[in-house]
Amino acid sequence: MDFEPKEEQRQLADALRRWIERDYGFAARRDIIHSPAGESPEAWRMLVELGLTALPVPEAQGGFGGGAADMFFVMQELGRGLVAEPYFATVLGARVLQLAGGQEELLERVAAGEVKLACALGEAQSRHDLADIAAKVSGPVDAAAVSGVKTVVEGGGQADMLIVSARSHGGQRDRDGISLLLVDAGTSGLVIRDGRAIDGRRCAGVTFDHAPATLLGDPGTAWPVLEAATDWGAALLCAEAVGAMDALFGATLDYLKTRRQFGVPIGSFQALQHRMADMFIHLEQARSMAMLAAAKADSGDAEERRRVVSAARVRVGEAARFVGQQAVQLHGGMGITDELPAAHWFKRLTAIGLTLGDVDHHLRRFAGQPGFRVA
């Protein structure tokens, strides 16, 4: 058993962190997220150069064939550095392509950093249930089209290609009948409404009106791929959240040691010390679960994967809420200004908590696994 990064994992994380410290600091990030584009071509180039787009892509498609455990250390750094580029959207899309099969050329281009992806999965009514799909597939298998409205598509306005979930048959919340399709962002029948999200990233509403689309796999059979890919993505979000929490916790600890009131550092007040101890415990428990999720996110045992990923989302989500809220509280007024990174970690943690299932969703899913009822 080993909880340390391997040497190449450590090197990559270190390189990423050095780049963030040098070129993606708080002020640089602020300019990027408030720019009209909402992303930075230079930053993207750097992520590609570091090998991050190639990391999760299989070696056969020019990638490094990294697993969720490799992604763990990358996502942790991106969370720490509040990197707002559409990287997660792209690698989540790459994971879908890899699991669905049949898009090897596209995967190569993703690995090379030439193509950005986004996953259009949620709809207005679906909340956290990704099987709740009203969008429809029409046309023959070799000339399919998609119609429907997808909401809150992270990186949807920045992507070159969209991966869309839509229904080939079945009732609106059936797991049977779901298809995944590939849609070119420049195609006809597509309206993308790009906007900012609460964490400074971009998300879009996307309307598909008979948009030409390529089926990924057989029609109506995509649920296992969709679930496996989003579990993998959920595990990555756990790692990112741990990175963000770690940094936020550190900033709060510094603040408690330097901010003085009543003639002493406020960190000398026992009530605040115990709060910090509680935050520390949350953080360590969350870190443990994020590691476990990374270890199981690409497991072949689907129930074990579901169980561990949902457990991690619950535990990390609870920690993110507590650490986020309390870090802001302990910063006092400074914690709720746009001017310190504290609030931005808090906002990112909040956004993560609303992405790919909230705590209650995953708690219900965890308790819904057959193994839960075995005493």
Binding site: R127, G195, R196, A197, I198, G205, L354, D360
Partner: protein, 398 residues
């Protein structure tokens, strides 16, 4: 023990409701209920409507323009205004500086300022906190040095709410640097148009410009604008802290937000049924609703001690009131789910930026900003940690 409102109270409530139904402008009501941002005009417009009715300052003595209502009636007024979605009457003039002027101000100050506060001719803001003096307010460093008929003020205030709109600021300033820290403080009224004042916005985490830094660079303030005696300002500030504070529990506002939350959870779906019917989510809402019921009774118990100042009991109301408000805001974000992710500042300001797909989206869009904004409530007005210190010391004797 009798926990019912009297028939007179019920009649009074009806009178208030009739007034609100007839006079609260629908656009203001819509903004307030929809968690949109209020501009200066919104506040002033509503204040003047209420002032025209003679109800702008229910807590004041009748001779200054108060209503003569008892504590229960004042509570009913607050509650009904909040339930209806009326903008708040901002406290800085009516509830903060006015009581100090009444108690300690000169005849000229009373004659000049009180009517202007009542009718919202002046917009007031509060100059207490400083970068180095937050929870430890008495360590403030802004100085006022007597120079003939003026004080010359230098220093900086911060977290000054809506100072960008303000005509006047009431400030705690240090007039005797040699004295023990609470003893050398004075209470000054300063015209915001005075040369040497600079207001710098502090953008908050919800990207709203709600608070400011206010810099004083050799600002000359006429000595007539000193309230009471020099170096007695701390006493006046403490007097204010012990004043009417049951409103801080915000029971009426939280009742309105609870309704919003339930309506949202009825529209949102989980497994094909309204989210409100999910046992786990219903239990969370029920828990907040029950906490709010308890808080309302606790407020009424405090009020029932008719016109005795609630004193340290107010700390309990502040803590619970803000906890309930924060819990409601958080549950709204949770109910909205991913729909709470988009941030649409144009919509928040009442403009229509992005084309929204549905009314639901428009209702969800402000919620995360509202949740973020409300993190302030456990920090401002004496953080909830400070309130617990007060309970421990003043009530429990620890």
């Amino acid at each position: 023990m009798d926990l019912n409102y009297s028939p007179e109270d019920d009649a009074f409530r009806q009178q208030v409701r009739d007034f609100l139904a007839a006079n609260l402008p629908p656009d203001l009501r819509r903004k307030v209920r929809g968690h949109l941002r209020l501009g200066k005009d919104d506040y002033v417009r509503w204040h003047r409507i209420v002032a025209a009715q003679g109800w702008a300052a229910p807590g004041w003595p009748v001779e200054y323009g108060g209503t003569g209502w008892n504590a229960v009636q004042r509570h009913i007024w607050d509650e009904e205004c909040a339930l209806a979605g009326a903008p708040p009457i901002l406290p800085f003039g009516v509830n903060m500086v006015a009581p100090v002027i009444m108690a300690f101000g000169s005849a000229a100050q009373k004659a000049h300022f009180l009517p202007r506060i009542l009718h919202c001719d002046d917009w007031w803001c509060q100059g207490y906190s400083e970068p180095g003096a937050g929870s430890d307010l008495a360590s403030l460093a802004t100085t006022a040095v007597r120079d003939g008929g003026h004080y010359v003020v230098n220093g900086q205030k911060t977290w000054t709410t809506l100072a960008q709109h303000a005509d006047m600021i009431f400030c705690l300033v240090r007039t005797d640097p040699a004295a023990r820290k609470q003893d050398g403080i004075s209470f000054l009224l300063i015209d915001m148009k005075s040369p040497g004042i600079t207001v710098r916005p502090i953008v908050m985490l919800d990207e709203e410009h709600e608070v400011n830094e206010v810099f004083f660079d050799n600002v000359r303030v006429p000595v007539e604008n000193l309230v009471g005696k020099e170096n007695q300002g701390w006493t006046y500030a403490k007097f204010l802290l012990g004043h009417e504070r049951t409103g801080i529990a915000a029971v009426g506002r939280s009742k309105r937000e609870l309704r919003f939350l339930k309506a949202l959870a009825l529209r949102q779906q989980l497994g094909g049924r309204p989210l409100l019917d999910d046992p786990v989510f219903a239990a969370k809402i029920a828990q907040v609703e029950i906490e709010l019921m308890a808080l309302e009774v606790t407020v009424l118990r405090t009020i029932a001690q008719e016109d005795r100042a609630p004193g340290p009991q107010a700390s309990l109301l502040k803590i619970k009131g803000t906890e309930v408000q924060q819990a409601l805001a958080e549950l709204m974000v949770e109910a909205a789910g991913p729909a709470a992710l988009p941030f649409d500042s144009a919509l928040l300001e009442g403009r229509h930026g992005i084309a929204h797909d549905s009314a639901d989206e428009m209702q969800a869009a402000p919620l995360a900003a509202y949740y973020f904004n409300y993190r302030k409530t456990s920090i401002y007005g004496g953080s909830n940690e400070i309130q617990k210190n007060i309970i421990a010391r003043m009530i429990l004797g620890l």
